[in-house]
């Protein structure tokens, strides 16, 4: 009887993991729609191509070597299916942990849950470099990012490996529940390195230092994308509890869902009120970025804050993201979708908020962790982008940019009938 209960718990936790992974996978659709909505229509096909291709690249590279670098085990996921003693091993592990102990689930479900996080980090990059980067240069970067750069810092954080054998972040009081830093700030750091080498879109900044708006083509798509991300985030944070199969963990999961939602709501309203006060108008794109900022802010620790604290944390993220977007524009760092602000600046905020509610973490640990992630991902990305730039270039020609990367890279328009009537 005891074995059967353990088997049921194993089945439930595996099932929960898989469903949450599927929810996070759907965030790829959210990023695709958000980015497609915030670029001009002449760059729609290419951004969609990039989003689907980067997801596929992430899955392949994480399978080839990423997962092994991050969590150990064989390359190409060899042995992940489990051997003949699979059932006996799992039952032994369950007995050792006890019913209310650490989670025991199928190894392939762990890969499935982890791989969609890699893709999320990579999706963040695609929006920031939109409308001017060469498609294939981007995809080559995706290979390095998802196969090596991300798994390295993932190993130091979630797997507890020492950073180049020097220090262990967990011992210093670093805690990042679902990846405000490990996933979101990492993606934004890679994006920042790319944007710095790539330069701004033509026409974005005037010679006199003025900032020109380049409005997105389709705000309904951007809104749909934001809602999809908001929904997928329940898997992102909820699944990161790693276990559902007892009362304590079920409660933790419910609290994480509640707080994740509360933070998004707080972020959205804080951002739109900030935009209204600053610009005199209720800027929809800021509202959307605000909801996402709320989600990023709570991701580092969605289980310990109260619902009110989660709403406020999200709200701080929502205010911060508006000022961050304006500041980056003043610095002439052109980010069409606000990814560096939403995921990078607010990701850092999320890390720094953790010690307020989680006694197991410390400010110094969070700062060292954030620096470690940033320096590694930004530095490694900068080198990678620079090599790609030297070998094959990363930017399309001025004429191609004017005509749109849809035609230059994909040879097709997203809305051919609108222009050929």
């Amino acid at each position: 009887m005891e074995n059967q209960i353990f088997e049921l718990q194993y089945a439930m936790d595996t099932f929960y993991f898989l469903v949450c992974g599927a929810l996070v996978m759907w965030m790829a659709a959210g990023f695709a729609m958000l980015e497609a909505g915030l670029v001009r229509s002449k760059n729609t096909t290419e951004i969609l191509t990039k989003n689907v291709a980067l997801f596929a690249v992430s899955c392949i590279m994480y399978m080839v070597c990423g997962y092994a670098i991050m969590y150990g085990g064989g390359y190409f996921l060899s042995g992940i299916a489990g051997g003949e003693t699979l059932v006996a091993d799992a039952l032994a592990a369950s007995k050792e942990e006890g019913f209310g102990g650490g989670s025991v689930y199928a190894d392939p479900s762990d890969f499935f849950f982890q791989v969609v996080f890699v893709a999320t980090a990579m999706s963040i990059v695609s929006g920031a470099v939109a409308e001017r980067m060469k498609l294939w240069s981007f995809l080559i970067f995706a290979v390095v990012m998802t196969g090596f750069i991300y798994p390295m810092e993932g190993a130091w954080t979630w797997n507890g490996d020492a950073v180049f054998g020097m220090y262990t972040l967990g011992d210093l009081g670093f805690s990042d529940f679902a990846g405000s830093g490990i996933v979101h700030m990492a993606g934004a750091s890679a994006a920042l390195a790319g944007v710095l080498l790539l330069g701004a879109r033509k026409g974005k900044y005037g010679a006199d230092g003025s900032v020109n708006a380049i409005p997105g083509a389709n705000l309904p798509l951007a809104t749909l994308g934001t809602f999809i991300l908001w929904m997928g985030w329940f898997g992102f944070n909820g699944g990161s509890v790693l276990k559902l199969g007892d009362i304590a963990n079920s409660n933790a999961v419910a609290m994480v869902f509640l707080n994740t939602n509360a933070a998004a709501a707080g972020g959205a309203m804080a951002a739109i009120i900030t935009a209204r006060l600053l610009f005199g108008k209720a800027d929809l794109t800021m509202l959307l970025n605000g909801a996402l900022a709320g989600l990023v802010a709570i991701t580092a620790e969605p289980s310990t804050p109260s619902a009110l604290q989660a709403t406020l944390f999200g709200g701080i993220g929502g205010v911060l993201v508006v000022f961050s977007i304006i500041t980056l524009d003043k610095l002439k760092i052109d980010d069409p979708v606000g990814a560096i602000s939403v995921h990078g600046v607010v990701g850092l905020l999320g890390l720094l908020l953790v010690p307020l509610t989680n006694d197991g973490s410390s400010f110094s640990g969070q700062i060292i962790g954030a620096l470690t992630i940033f320096v590694w991902v930004f530095g490694a990305s900068l080198i990678t982008w620079a090599i790609i730039k030297a070998v094959m270039g990363i930017r399309v020609t001025e004429e191609e940019e004017y005509e749109g990367v849809d035609l230059a890279e994909c040879g097709m328009e997203a809305y051919p009938e609108f222009t050929k009537s």
Binding site: V211, N212, A213, P215, G280, D283, T285, M286, I326, D329
Partner: protein, 112 residues
């Protein structure tokens, strides 16, 4: 025969069409156009940055009418397209040399 070409605010199109039908105008042609006059463009806001929309959407409405009807058409369009605010548009009148109905070959006023 004269060609009356009126550039008006898009939301006034229905009013103008009805008013012209009432005074006996048999046919009109409508084109969506963009442009600016003394109204100039206007500014919009996106993520905190202002940008200027130089060309505003308008509707160009064209009707060929008998010489005797021209003044009445001008008066009707002026009245029905008027909002009193800047950007109401303009009316231009051109002479028309000939008109032919393709189906029957009728010409001149018969073809209108």
């Amino acid at each position: 025969m004269k060609l009356v070409s009126a550039i008006i605010k898009p939301f006034k199109l229905d009013d103008v069409r009805e008013a012209l039908s009432e005074i006996g105008v048999q046919g009109i042609t409508v084109t969506e156009v963009k442009g600016f006059g003394r109204q100039k463009g206007h500014t919009e806001l996106y993520r905190g940055a202002e940008y200027v929309v130089d060309f505003l959407p308008k509707v160009k409405l064209e009707a060929v009418v008998d010489d005797g009807l021209v003044d009445q058409v001008i008066e009707t369009v002026t009245k029905s397209a008027n909002t009193g605010k800047i950007g109401d548009g303009k009316i231009f009148v051109y002479p028309v040399e000939q008109a032919i109905r393709i189906r029957t070959g009728e010409t001149g006023s018969e073809a209108l």
